[in-house]
Point group: C2
Amino acid sequence: MTSSQIRKKQEARARELPATAWAVLGLLSFPGERTGYELKKWADASLRFFYWSPAISQIYAELRRLEGLGYADSRRSGPEEVRTKRRYAITDAGRAALADWASDTAEAGPPVLKHGVLLRVWLGHLADPARLRAVVADHIARTREELAEVREARTRAADTPAWTYPELALRWSERHHEAELTLAEALLADLDELADGPPPAGGGAPRQGTGDAPTGG
Amino acid sequence: MTSSQIRKKQEARARELPATAWAVLGLLSFPGERTGYELKKWADASLRFFYWSPAISQIYAELRRLEGLGYADSRRSGPEEVRTKRRYAITDAGRAALADWASDTAEAGPPVLKHGVLLRVWLGHLADPARLRAVVADHIARTREELAEVREARTRAADTPAWTYPELALRWSERHHEAELTLAEALLADLDELADGPPPAGGGAPRQGTGDAPTGG
DNA sequence: TTGCCCATGTAATTTGTTACATGATTTA
DNA sequence: TAAATCATGTAACAAATTACATGGGCAA
């Protein structure tokens, strides 16, 4: 294989980086040099509210990949032999590639949602109504706690000019958590209505029939 | 660690199937026998709105695992030698295990959200404002289309007694998509406000709306 | 001096995807 | 009769987690 072919392949691979790699590079795109460890804490404290916080081992792996691609570079503090802090910074090439990725309208797929609570509601026919209700109620309580954390994170982000956009994202997250609460309350009400037997309007007997063989789909 | 501790850990791991396995078993928990192929189509048409639709190859793999655990069984239609339809059904053990999992309050972790659009907004300092706006506008358009699909799925689920809970989950999904639209419109407004220059502290910025009413239904 | 936080990394494993191979049945 | 759809599966690979190994610095 010629070196130009190799280069092309590397470019193609670089373009198709998983979103996680861009997220890590994104963390580096804000002012300052950071260690993998710091990146992980930052992701836990804010990225995770609207995206997700990778495992620390994955962050280290992504940092190595980004450095291999020339999108980031690193330097050690302390003597060479010792395994000590390694601080990463984004390169100009990295910033350019990231900017490119971030404004690519087509590439942004639909948001991925895996809602374990809803999965359980969906399976409601198997569960005791009271326990199902408890699953949703617990979710509400946890969401309230999360909401408090989002607000805290947003407060930290506010008034730092470089963090205007992160603050926007956190503002969205705050509203999103508020909406999640509203949705969960409505779900609880729907569940209660089912349990009490559907109210007057129309045909409502306490619908409990076996009702055979829906074909699926 | 003692060998008994190790044994306990292994047992715990065996009990803790990934949520995907439970989701597939859940698909089987509704009346009727189904092929892997049918399961995939069903997941595409409704599960994916609040959870996620696994790749067909993974569905086949999960079905084999579930059968190995005695949670499902299968039979072929057609002569033995030929590779033909294999229909799966849930077993009593499977139903019991699934019911157990579904009503376990503690086990239901927080919902997982990976929002590529928000990741891009978070990186707004790197992007051209107009293109960033386009990313969000595109997201709104796509969400509207998805909302229509959710409504369609919900209509299909309604009035089938065995699908009461799936219908509840889809009702939640519908509201969730509506909320997603509202949130995205608000985000667009925030973005515009940033671009126009922040307004004089008091409040009422111009913020041109999209003209569309977000909260249908 | 024990335990926690900082800090980096490897290894094993699991989870999940895409690409490919195969062939039957239905529909235009 | 060509195509799409139904249907199952394998193989290769990518993504991501958990468990483990290592060690410095600091505080109760």
